[in-house]
Symmetry: D2
Subunit: 280 residues, 4 copies
């Protein structure tokens, strides 16, 4: 771009710059490729994500991994914040887009946001060659929990099948799994402390996402850094969970559920100015 500007090829300054798609011909182009060509070659959504988010054609073993993540995170029941708000909006009679947006707006630090943190953490640990033992100790000293480590129910003796599926897939299909290996070394240290401090689904996705970038040899170190800091994994979670949010809204429409009003008895009413505490 800069080169092109220098060469005087970009004459009119435009208000927008875009690098992912182009709709000026009679059919849109994804990363420069006409969509009908894309369709003939692409095997699934993963290839489209590859073109539109990464502006490049990732190998099939990588795009299949992206699809696995999209499938795994699609829903987590009706009780989590996102599904709940989408359901409440649907029962208020709102259109599908409003319901999905209302639910989606709860995705953030406490709901769905752990994966990017885990990726940044494993990237730092592995690239700075921090020995796994020290890596765990550093976190302990800083008083923080390692993102991507720990599970309430699953443990060494009762492993998480989803994690096994992902690792199995990576072992068979990835050219290399350096970050996963690092994460599993970390897991050895933590599970020695307590059996449930296993590498969880979020941690596995984070480590393998780093391996996608490294093993494909299509990302510079600067790009890897940018991808993990900008929130690509958050984007994957968001896209994936949209499947569930749409599903929950359609579900409520179908079931013809009435307006939801939370039970007043489930609320504690307090007012400090007038020393008022409600007795249920």
């Amino acid at each position: 771009l800069v080169a092109a500007q220098a060469a005087g090829r970009v004459r009119v300054p435009t208000n927008f710059v875009t690098t992912i798609s182009d709709d000026r011909g009679d059919e849109p182009r994804f990363a420069g490729k006409p969509i009908s060509d894309v369709m003939e070659k692409a095997g699934g959504i993963g290839d489209i994500v590859s073109l539109l988010w990464f502006k490049r054609t990732l190998p099939t073993w990588a795009t299949k991994f992206l699809e696995m993540v999209l499938m795994l995170c699609a829903d987590h029941g009706p009780c989590v914040s996102g599904a709940h708000n989408a359901i409440v909006a649907a029962r208020a009679g709102k259109d599908l887009v409003s319901c999905v947006a209302s639910g989606m707006l709860t995705i953030g630090p406490r709901f769905g946001g752990a994966v990017d943190g885990a990726a940044r953490n494993f990237l730092r640990g592995k690239d700075e060659n921090i020995p796994p033992f020290d890596f765990v100790e550093q976190a302990k000293k800083a008083g923080i929990r390692l993102p991507g480590i720990g599970h309430r129910i699953k443990s060494v003796d009762n492993p998480d099948k989803r994690v096994e599926l992902l690792i199995d897939y990576a072992r068979k299909n990835f050219p290399s799994t350096d970050y996963l290996n690092y994460a599993l070394e970390v897991e050895k240290i933590t599970t020695a402390k307590s059996g449930n401090l296993i590498l969880n689904v979020d941690g596995t996705i984070a480590a393998l996402f780093l391996d996608v970038m490294k093993a494909s040899k299509m990302f510079s170190p600067a790009e890897v850094k940018q991808v993990t800091s900008i929130g690509y994994l958050n984007g994957l979670f968001l896209l994936s969970r949209t499947i569930g949010l749409v599903g929950h809204a359609l579900d409520q429409y179908r079931l013809n559920q009435p307006l939801y009003r939370h039970q007043q008895t489930d609320v504690l009413f307090v007012n400090e100015e007038i020393g008022y505490v409600d007795e249920q």
Copy 2:
């Protein structure tokens, strides 16, 4: 459900009912199936959509079709309302979820909303055995344009490759294509009037979606009616376009674009009370 209630099996009245997923065990269930089982059998996102939206296991030829639609509608360049608003929000420094929600909220009657209308229309035409000629005449008399018919650039002599791809796929893989056939009969009538009144991408998706429900033999007529009236196709468009919206936001972050402010010279300022018309 009603039967179960009658049998006294549902004892505690709950505030919520859900039919698509269940998160009470140690891993979520999609339509009653543990997600790790689902992952082993599922080929792609289409299978997850099938379970979470339709609560049933659609055959592979159908789920692959859903994936084709998700791929085809993923983006349409940076200039359409949805992408534009997501870009403007990204340039205002907002987080990914806010950008996607801001863009998504423009999806509706004028942007992305034609497919459901086309589906309802072809369903009525075919099921009520309206001869294609009369079907076209009825619309003309009512002064409405047939949704799913017409293209600005493409025509009989310059066909749309995306439509060809979809039809080709359906002919090879669908057990039957009655609604597509009906839509193509309609196209014969309209293209006889004008070469560009072809069955467009939206119309093709709509007709084939009806064929999915019919040819799979998994939907009662009442369900077909509900699916087209509730907005499932709108949901498909919304999910698909989320790929593009995330892509555009990430793109602007990566390019480090500054706050956007629309050019004042592109606005006509008028005030009627004080007889004020701005002269540019």
Copy 3:
């Protein structure tokens, strides 16, 4: 505008037209008036709403009425859909704008949307000179409930103070209250049937809003029609309730509430394909 175009005064076609504000000088103009001038003359928010929504300077008795409405509808406790979703988003750690948007997106037909319907209804009844008795009978025959009529607790013998306040204000300050009078005639018919079928707050706001337009003599019949069909009263509710939504989000931040997860025991899990009904 058309006249100006005819006169050739509008030379460059612009992509946008705006009639309410202008930001091209060193301070913004509201309806053509510099904001510092506006501030000197305006008594409150009602005057700003008048300029920005109605593009005209409504008399003080009218802008004070708008403010009363904004104050009355500002909040309705933490249990209604809007407040609830804002609270859930706040507890998910989301920023203020996301929380307000998530809550706001539940406002619609079943939550906050009755006032516009009531206004359209009373406008039709009064302008078409439908006798109140017939007006009530028509609704009964059509099987619809009159919007703006009826209250769960309040009745003729236990009147709603808010309604009394509004009526009192209007009687003292409005030049005329023709629509209110009509609505009260309707109330006489309905309360004769049942004591709780009183003119409720929504109905009173709707009728008095029509009186504002009529008694100010600043709206043509076409404008009155447009204002009630476009959703101005919905806008008033939306603006007013934003006060409460912001309040609820700030409240949760202050109280440092954790991530909310709805109780699983309050959900009935059903799957029809596999004949699955959960027994709590």
Copy 4:
């Protein structure tokens, strides 16, 4: 609350706690007061904001100030991000709530977010008794611009009328204006450097908001800190700007504007993988 819990008065643990409003009786209560009582005493929106956001009855000189802020920030023309996105959504045929939400979601660090920063900054400077000269030097050394200082057009010789109005109001009505005085001392230093480095509207609002909390004697130091860190001023901007966003959406409906599509010639299309730079 803790005391009440200790005393065993709070028996059933509830899932929600709320301190601002209560809807359990036959009319809602704001900060413990029945809304009809509130309406009789309150002079305007400022009093409602006081009750619902601050849970206390601020004096009239303070609530009038809040109203002035709400009026001043209500709109800034159709070209800024928020109004622009609301307009684009309105032209896509979306409902009022969706338009307002789409626009609102652009409010953040670069659009509307300067006031909270200015408040935190002046609070620190004044409370830590940093001499104004050092305060300015510190910022210079840190390489940051003082939020609330500077204007593109206005200067010492061409003062901003809005700032004059606010200061005038505060001088006449506030019991004390310590933070404003401090900010004006800072301004003396900066304007000595360059005539346009005046205390701007954002800075004036920020300083006077701090004065409201101090001069009312109703906030503990911990509360002042919390209020400025949680984003109350952002809430004021958000509420205020909602007036304009609703106005812009209604404006486009009224003008019957068609679907907006940004001009393709205003976009530079780039793809790095295929060395593609579009020449306009």
